[in-house]
Amino acid sequence: MPPTVRSERHPEPAIPAQQHLMDLLVHEIKTPLTVIALGSKALAQATNPAQSAVWQQRLQQAVADIVDILDSCNQVSRFEGGTLSPEPSVFAPESLLSPLIASLCDAAHAPPERIVVRYDQAQDASLPWTGSTAYLQIILNNLLGNALKYAPPESPVALQIGRLPWADQPAQLQFAVRSAIGPAGAPDPALVFERHYRAPAASRFSGTGLGLWLSQQLALAMGSRIHMGQEGGQLVFWFTLTEDLAAAR
């Protein structure tokens, strides 16, 4: 990576984490707002349907980006304030994934079949699982959302889920998200879960650099850890959850 060239500035004073989060939110949200400011005028003046359709899609994407930024900052703020509840419950993986995938693909203007879910065993989809719905949802939302955003357009994103039943121990669920490496390049494995880290060319897209950091914190809170690697030219994120039978009691 080329060295960063910065013009001369005053040294930046240390600021509290909450203030930093608010600054980040305000700064990042202005990028999609710029598209909205330009698009709202362009749409009003557009004279042909093709031009209107392009601006409409840009406006929808800008709104989706703002929602992502707000959600991300809110989740981090609640996590750090101790109010992000794990919401433990008994659920079937399929019931969690179907609405999540529909929502992610809708926001990314992608067909739902772009995310291909594969279960190691067919019954893994519907077997009840006990654990944190909220934390798992945030983690999968980040991993799948990133894959949709950064993989080459229209390339498939694979989510593989396997259940390991143990005779005398709680069962385990294994998750792996695979996607092709897009124009933003592969993240640095040593930094990818650092707070505010973004891959060298990730600034091509809107984002806060908080999603993977938070996902890792939530995985750790559930006694797991997310790993990242490359396999056959694809980027792979994987983690294993152990069923928390006490959580939903």
Partner: protein, 128 residues
């Protein structure tokens, strides 16, 4: 009416594409690039009447690019479009920048500022 050539330096693709299309629709001849190095290559191909620069760019930042461009192309207008917060060190104004607009700039304000910069540069070139 004269067609003015503009180069937009913005690393966020959505903003770059929206700026390019908006300014084309307003009658400018527009090219979009994502870094200072890409700007150098674009200006080696064809000159420009004005630049629209983002402040936070990967590699060389907007103020450093503005400083180099002012030295190389004294008559080229430089407009900085920045999301920097007032009071934050990174947003401090620099004399090599002609116009600062805060994101999200209104479309009309951007068009008017760029047209004024291009006309001022052209008038200066005519007088010399």
């Amino acid at each position: 009416m004269q067609t003015y050539a503009i180069v937009i330096v913005e690393d966020n693709l959505a903003v770059q594409e929206a700026l390019c299309d908006h300014l084309r629709e307003q009658g400018f001849d527009v090219r979009g690039v994502d870094s200072g190095a890409a700007l150098d290559a674009a200006l080696a191909q064809a000159s420009a009447h004005a630049l629209v620069l983002d402040l936070n760019l990967p590699g060389e930042d907007g103020h450093s690019i503005a400083l180099r461009m002012r030295a190389r192309f004294p008559r080229m207008g430089i407009l900085m479009l920045s999301a920097a917060l007032a009071g934050a060190g990174a947003g401090a104004r620099q004399p090599q920048v002609d116009v600062y607009l805060r994101k999200p700039a209104q479309a009309q304000a951007l068009t008017d500022a760029l047209r004024a910069l291009c006309e001022a540069g052209s008038a200066l070139a005519t007088r010399r």
